[in-house]
Amino acid sequence: MSVNSIYLLMFTSGLLSGFSHCLGMCGPLVTSYSLGLKERALLPHMLYNLGRVTTYILLGGVVGMTGSFLGVMAGVQGLQRLIMILAGVLIVLMGLGLAGWFPFPGRLEGRGTLFPGFIERALGPSPGRLTAGSFYPLGVLLGFIPCGVVYTALIATARAGMEAENHLFGFLKGLLMMLSFGLGTMPTLLLLGGTVGIMGVRMRSRLQRLSALVMIAAGVIFVARAV
């Protein structure tokens, strides 16, 4: 297989997987933060996805350099669990906030955001609302969430790393392969975030209660899978 076709294959794999797989893992989160955005802006979605892709690139580089998928995954397993639990708790809190069931409603009133204050402070410098810059670290963090499609892409990267002439080539190849894959997964999540963004305020308020329930359920599932 030629070098170019590997990257094309990785991109296509990401693109196809995005529609059927990534929505299940990242969909609830993207929907929830999209409902919380005041403006119809592309920047937060781009930053969130670039953060996610940054993690994939990092993992790809290390897996490509070492040529070992299982070795690297064993190293990040504990971190993945922790992130799953944190993400699950975050999604549940966002769901509670969206439905107006958050136990400390005073903290949310008039803030124009779904997040409780302590999460906002953890995620961004502005105390009132999430800033665009908060979405990049959020994406970096959530890029570590265990995902079968990402695992498959990393297995392919490890194989390519094993065939590389040296560690540096393996690192670069792995990095570029996972960059191609990550870019392929972006359109679906950008489309989802953008779709929620273009909905009118009335439509959003109709969907809010339903979305809140879905988010709470998704958050509980995230935590249950991690423990």
């Binding site: 265990p146 995902c147 489309l191 439509m203």
Partner: protein, 141 residues
Amino acid sequence: MEPLKPLFMKRGVLIMVFILVSCSAGETGPSPDCDIDAGPCIRSGRDGMIALEIGPRPVTAMRPLYFRVMLENHRRPRSVMVELSMPGMSMGSNRITLSTSGEGLYEGLGVIPLCPSGRRLWRAGIVIDGRVVEVFHFDVR
């Protein structure tokens, strides 16, 4: 711009429905036709017998595994691969290239990734000279 809002809303709902339908498509799929933990999956056809063995047993995701394909009464192939996929879920391309280790015997190493959704059913396609000649479905731990 105001009259365009309902149009945007409708379009948004349609796109969301499309996304959700494509997400849930293929939820129901085939069931296991072979117990890979009990021994090799064997099938005989017009072209001869094909057996797939995966070990060490029990076959577990996220562990290094050997894949062994045994061919009987087949013409000598140029390439033999095992293509792993999950029915009803796009998991990307996971192809394990096997090399010959005896008459009709092909072996290689690979990993079955873990699906955090809890799904355990996998499909292994035996690819000979670029053509899928046999398919086995089995559960992994």
